[in-house]
């Protein structure tokens, strides 16, 4: 047991930091953390910071990419799910901006999900839970 207090950030790995800054800042419209430097840009989603990290930086001591058996950039196939008020509306806006989606929007029975990719191929989800939880609370 460790005393986990929160998630400070999730790392988004990129091959092109400038392109990622444009995507997360302009295409998705996430506010940039004003305390973040250009070599470590951070974007805020309301509850979680997304830190953009160039994959070459993962070779640094603290990340040791090779120990995880990777020698080349591999995009993440495990998505970060962004809550939006309306999945179809958000999807249309992103498609107009040229963003590639993976398949049709999915209805799980409690939520809508649409899987898309950032310019590096990392998967993200547009997500909206429309059903209350079992205990009656709503997201």
């Amino acid at each position: 047991m460790i005393d986990v207090q929160r998630t400070d950030f999730a790392t988004v790995v990129t091959q092109d930091t400038e392109r990622a800054i444009q995507f997360y800042g302009e295409t998705l419209g996430l506010p940039r953390n004003p305390n973040s430097a250009d070599e470590w840009p951070e974007f805020e989603t309301g509850n979680l910071t997304l830190a953009v990290c160039h994959w070459a930086q993962l070779g640094r001591e603290e990340f040791q990419w090779e120990q995880l058996g990777r020698e080349e950039f591999t995009p993440s196939i495990s998505p970060i799910a962004l809550r939006v008020p309306d999945v179809e509306k958000a999807r249309r806006r992103l498609e107009e901006a040229g963003v590639q989606f993976r398949g049709e929007t999915f209805d799980s029975g409690v939520c809508h999900l649409a899987v898309f990719h950032d310019p590096d191929g990392n998967r993200l989800i547009l997500h909206h839970r429309y059903a209350p939880h079992e205990d009656g609370t709503k997201p």
Binding site: D8, G29, G46, E61, E62, F63, L68, R70, S78
Partner: protein, 129 residues
């Protein structure tokens, strides 16, 4: 612009759902979301939900999250690091110090990279985490 309101969850790929659930619940001590089901298990970190996903069940190959993907805040990195090592969790890098924060990188039971992290310095505007 898509009016993003928050991150609802981060998907954590697993190879063995039960083993991973034990790791997140017992080794990290995260509370399990009571609304979880047998096939959709969620853990809470305070500000964001971690959802275990099983790529092979969706016909996809398992690919672990790269190192440092999920960075969790702890009050003291050395204490957390010692506890994780006692529990047999694989340390992949010694404690680093960036000048404003320190941290240590590990992999979970499935091979996903995560780190324990503590920012000790205030931000440039004087606020502290």
């Amino acid at each position: 612009m898509i009016d993003a309101q928050r991150v609802d969850f981060i998907a954590v790929p697993v190879q063995d759902r039960e083993r991973a659930a034990k790791f997140y619940e017992e080794t990290l001590g995260l509370p399990r979301n009571p609304n979880s089901t047998e096939t959709w298990i969620e853990f809470e970190t305070g500000n964001v939900t971690l959802a275990l996903v099983d790529p092979p069940s969706a016909g996809q190959a398992f690919v672990p999250l790269p190192s440092g993907s999920i960075v969790i805040r702890v009050p003291d990195v050395e204490t957390a690091k010692a506890r994780l090592q006692e529990a047999g969790v694989a340390l992949i890098a010694e404690t680093w110090d960036s000048g404003v924060c320190n941290g240590a990188s590990f992999v979970d039971s499935e091979g996903n990279g995560f780190a324990v992290h503590h920012r000790y310095a205030p931000y440039s505007d004087g606020t502290t985490p």
